[in-house]
Amino acid sequence: MAHTTTPASNAEHPALPADTPGPHSRRLGLIAVIATFGGLLFGYDTGVINGALAPMKDDLGLSSFTEGFVVSILIFGAALGALAGGRLSDQYGRRHNIIVLAAVFGLGTLGCVLAPTWQVLAVFRFVLGLAVGGASATVPVYLAEVSPYERRGSVVTRNEVMIVSGQFAAFVINAVIFNLWGDHDGVWRWMLLVAVLPAIALFVGMLRMPESPRWLSSQGRDDEAHAVLRQIRSAERADAEMAEVRALALEEQEAQTGGWTDLAVPWIRRLIFVGIGLGVFQQFTGINSIMYYGSQLLEDAGFTAKAAVLGNTLFGLASVLGISVGIVVMNKIDRRVMLLGGFTLTTLFHLLVGISALVLPDGSVKPYVILAFAVLFVFSMQGTIGPLVWLLLAEIFPLKIRSFAMGVCVFCLWLANASVAFGFPPVVDAIGIAPTFFIFAGLGGLALIFIATSVPETRGLTLEEFEDSFKARHTPQENHS
């Protein structure tokens, strides 16, 4: 999982008139549905490889090294796409960016479907990755910017749910296609091809959707911003909200103030290290080794190929349920408690998967036990660490350096994701399932130490209170006259 959550806003909300329902509500609802196709595509394109991989390996003759390469190159592309996507959407607009991304999704998908060799496949997987990263940086921002503040949170989390739903959908479609036509060499091409449909829906749909009013205002196009607000708010609400839109556009520019040289300040540097650590350890849980290689893992554990693809759908389901639970409980439990609890659970299930793979005799029970523990791992991860790390990244940085700091942390998160995706097949090949999961458990132990010693609590504090206390704790006390 990797996607951007829009930072919580500091702006005050002077009593705006309630957004009374009307034709504009349907318009806003439609915008949310269309734009979240971007999240769905993100999920589908990252998830479809899981399940497509087994027939693809036979068809294109992949080794464990080229397998890891073909899978992870999409994630490397996403790391770059997230960086470039943020810049482009600031420059040319959110709507424009999403339309271009939909076209890139379509192009990348067709290229992968028609690829004659793994090298060509890798090139187009990289192209798809650019679109995935771009979508992660643009879609949640667009959704937050068109939504009234009362509904901003729920609309943005809907995008997170759409991403895991996209992965779940990919797993289910893989299972159906593989169980019906699994004997054909090129069956993986049909699994990939399905992604063209939501790409077309996103492209055609976004052509009819308006640009973000906040972005228009940041470009000095307040008249157009107002016209858009008139489409998606009640009339008096639209007029009243223009002031807030302008204030938020200014706040966004403010968020781009800090950069590289501000790392000279110890407490800022430390905060960015905390953010990087959170992103990297989120990925080092190995969640995506399940999301990308779940079917492979189940086959290695002893399932038949067809049963493995079916069992894999449970990972998708656990992911959707986990995120849904996580979003609900997230603001009711202290961040640190939830992180420590989450990593304790994931590390426990890593150990249980590893021990089961090690001690259980090959046979009828073993694959089911491994499946059960891996499903529990996915559920615990997506219910805690998954959404919580995104929330923390959105709220721990001072406004003036937020844009730069989040960019750095999200980039590192993608790189960690890519390195797990790249390393998993060769490592499993070389040392087997059990030791691989003991490595994940070891990384989980390191994550627990990191959180206990370094991650600050933010729940229930305003941004200013948090900054003051963190700065006071991490500024070296020097005596000077």
């Binding site: 520019q253 403010e254 781009q256 103030t257 800090g258 950069g259 590289w260 040289t261 501000d262 790392l263 000279a264 300040v265 800022i268 001072p398 406004l399 003036k400 350096i401 730069f404 900054e467 700065k471 020097e478 005596n479 000077h480 006259s481």
Partner: protein, 120 residues
């Protein structure tokens, strides 16, 4: 006429601000403090007799503190630039660059460089 001081989030920044207040008083000018920190600037230590204007960095054009300070030197017609300096390791300079060095070399007006006494 005004004295302009660059105030980073560090002990050198505090020292530079104090030295700049003294410089402004001796020249009989106003003081413009450019806040390079990402948090609000504390100016409570400056004598009430000196008129202080705090200037913040705003947005992407001010991401580079050197550009921000030099633009303000021009805008406020400063006659003196005050900065705090400290010893840096070669590695630190290679990674983060040296704001002080670039200000010293690029400032159009004389620069007063203040350093902390490292022995005390």
């Amino acid at each position: 006429m005004t004295v302009l001081v660059a105030v980073p989030d560090s002990p050198e920044g505090v020292a530079a601000l104090a030295a700049a207040a003294a410089e402004a008083a001796s020249l009989g000018t106003d003081l413009v403090a450019v806040n390079l920190a990402l948090t609000p600037l504390d100016i409570s230590a400056i004598p009430a007799a000196t008129k202080v204007t705090v200037v913040e960095r705003h947005g992407r054009p001010d991401r580079d503190p050197v550009d921000a300070v030099l633009a303000d030197v021009e805008e406020y017609g400063a006659v003196r630039l005050v900065i705090g300096i400290k010893r840096r390791t070669p590695v630190g300079k290679a990674i983060l660059g040296s704001v002080s060095q670039r200000l010293l070399l690029n400032s159009p007006v004389p620069v007063l460089a203040v350093k902390l006494n490292e022995l005390e």
